[in-house]
């Protein structure tokens, strides 16, 4: 069965490109939400196996959203992976590519690396 990945990011062009790539692989069902405010309701409808989420978004911080997901009964077990354009990949503040206990993927990152992180986090829970 395909894994369901919810992509929350306000960069429309970016989400389109990533969705195309993930769908082309044939292993993932991808839902995109460009408006962070709607993220919870989209997640409730879609029931993702993993959430891939930007940190700096216009309406809401990804970090706040992640905290909210982790507090809810429905999503507390769902792995969250951050995607962000504001780190270099060896950012000392974020430590070893982890933030609030969630993996961080800097933008841009090669698709293969992103897929490896997705698979690793999908396998731990499902």
């Amino acid at each position: 069965m395909k894994k369901k990945v919810l992509l929350i990011d306000d960069e429309r062009a970016f989400t389109e490109m990533l969705r195309l790539n993930l769908e082309a692989i044939g292993l993932y069902d991808v839902e995109v939400e460009n408006n962070a405010v709607n993220a919870i309701s989209t997640a409730l409808n879609f029931r993702p196996d993993l959430i891939l989420m930007d940190i700096i978004m216009t309406n809401r911080r990804g970090t706040d959203l992640a905290a909210q997901f982790k507090k809810s009964l429905e999503f507390r077990q769902i792995p969250i992976v951050f995607l962000t354009a504001t780190v270099s990949g060896h950012d000392p503040v974020l430590g070893e590519n982890e933030f609030m206990g969630h993996p961080v993927i800097p933008k841009p990152t090669d698709l293969n690396v992103l897929l490896a992180v997705l698979d690793e986090n999908l396998s731990t829970t499902c």
Binding site: A13, M17, A85, T86, V87, H90, P92, P108
Partner: protein
């Protein structure tokens, strides 16, 4: 030290024998405050004596067999700027005397118009003025340095403020382009070499732009240093092995002179590795094919004048402190003196063509500062460049 209360060393430069005798006898009246008194009748002779003895004051006649007028004063004071000068002018040369005060003299006397008392007073006034002048000069120098540091900090602050905004606006489109071409590459499945080449070039361009923005981010990040006790020599060995291929590519001879007795230092291994990598890659770029790079470690306990390691700022290092030093030296062409001042400026680069961002050394400097250490870059005597890292020992970090 207060020169007014100690015995003085006085040099009389006077070609008229009579005037010289008058001066000598007047000065000997206050003999108890004289430590050394010499007389000479030419400027050349005066210069020679000033090189041999540490005179406090020169009583100078402007018109000598080998030099005339104000020129005499200028030549003497520019070569020996630390000595106080009292001009001894001919009678009725008030104008000349006054003028000399603006040209480096501390006082003037008119021949035949002074007593031993006045001479003595003039000498002491001159000494005091010279002392104040030197204090003022040094205060001005310190002020200029402080201003330079402020300007530098302001530059860093501006860059820091810009960095994360720029990163967000640039890295997002880069990510979009990257996944765009990834998709095209996978879908097109073309064996057309030209199409492949286009995709490779786009990918390289993305990487290059991304590296530059990453440098900018690293530069602006307040480095949260994670300090542990580390063996600097081992970190150096590891760094050198990381870029061994760069040495081999240019047939560079790498000499390691690591003092195995250097004490452990409390440092952030990753950050210091980043600095070492930076310095070593700079050296690789500097040397010609077959060039030489020497990496040394040594350590010192600083004495009062900090002379063991030149250029150490007094506000950071002190007597009795132990420092561990790492030098990365190359036998390249060195750095033009005009550029030496700017090399730590953010965005100063001589490597635009090879993708340098001009942030490597700025980042290195801020990393060393976060370790309470320092970094210096200088041209070696006999050619080549020396980059020096100085780490204070943990016990003195408080």
């Amino acid at each position: 030290m207060d020169k007014n209360s100690q015995a003085l060393k006085v040099l009389i430069v006077e070609d008229s024998q009579i005037d010289r005798r008058i001066l000598e006898s007047m000065l000997s009246e206050s003999a108890k405050t004289l430590k050394l008194l010499k007389s000479v009748d030419t400027l050349a002779g005066a210069m020679k004596l000033l090189g041999e003895h540490d005179f406090d004051v020169v009583i100078l006649d402007l018109n000598l067999p080998d030099s005339e007028g104000e020129d005499t004063l200028v030549r003497l004071s520019s070569k020996y700027p630390d000595v106080a000068i009292v001009i001894n002018t001919g009678a009725y040369e008030d104008e000349v005397g006054l003028h000399t005060l603006g040209a480096g003299a501390q006082d003037f006397l008119m021949k035949g118009k002074y007593t031993a008392y006045v001479l003595n007073k003039a000498i002491h006034y001159a000494l005091e003025r010279k002392r104040l002048e030197q204090e003022l000069t040094s205060a001005y120098e310190r002020l200029k340095e402080a201003q330079g540091r402020l300007v530098q900090m302001e530059k860093m602050r501006v860059v820091g403020a810009l960095a994360s905004g720029v990163a967000h606006e640039v890295k997002n489109p880069l990510a979009t382009i990257l996944y765009g071409i990834t998709y095209l590459r996978d879908q097109a499945q073309t064996s057309d070499e030209k199409v492949q080449m286009v995709l490779v070039n786009i990918k390289e361009a993305i990487d290059k732009a991304n590296n530059i923005v990453n440098d900018l981010l690293d530069f602006s990040a307040t480095p949260k240093v994670d300090r542990r006790r580390e063996d600097l020599n081992r970190i150096i060995e590891k760094t050198l092995s990381l870029i061994n291929h760069e040495f081999e590519k240019k047939h560079i001879v790498v000499l390691k002179r690591l003092d195995q007795a250097v004490p452990m230092v409390e440092i952030d291994k990753n950050r210091v590795e980043q600095v070492l990598l930076n310095l070593t890659l700079n050296a690789v770029q500097a040397v010609a094919d077959g060039g030489r790079i020497e990496v040394k470690t040594h350590w010192h306990t600083l004495s009062d004048d900090l002379s063991e390691v030149p250029h150490l700022p007094r506000d950071k290092f002190a007597l009795g402190q132990t420092v561990v030093v790492c030098d990365v030296e190359d036998n390249g062409p060195g750095i033009p003196p005009a550029q030496l001042k700017e090399i730590f400026d953010p965005f100063f680069t001589t490597k635009q063509d090879s993708g340098g961002t001009g942030l490597g050394l700025s980042i290195s400097k801020s990393i060393m500062e976060s370790h309470h250490g320092d970094i210096f870059i200088e041209n070696k005597q006999g050619g080549g460049t020396r980059a020096r890292l100085v780490f204070p020992l943990a016990s003195s970090l408080i």
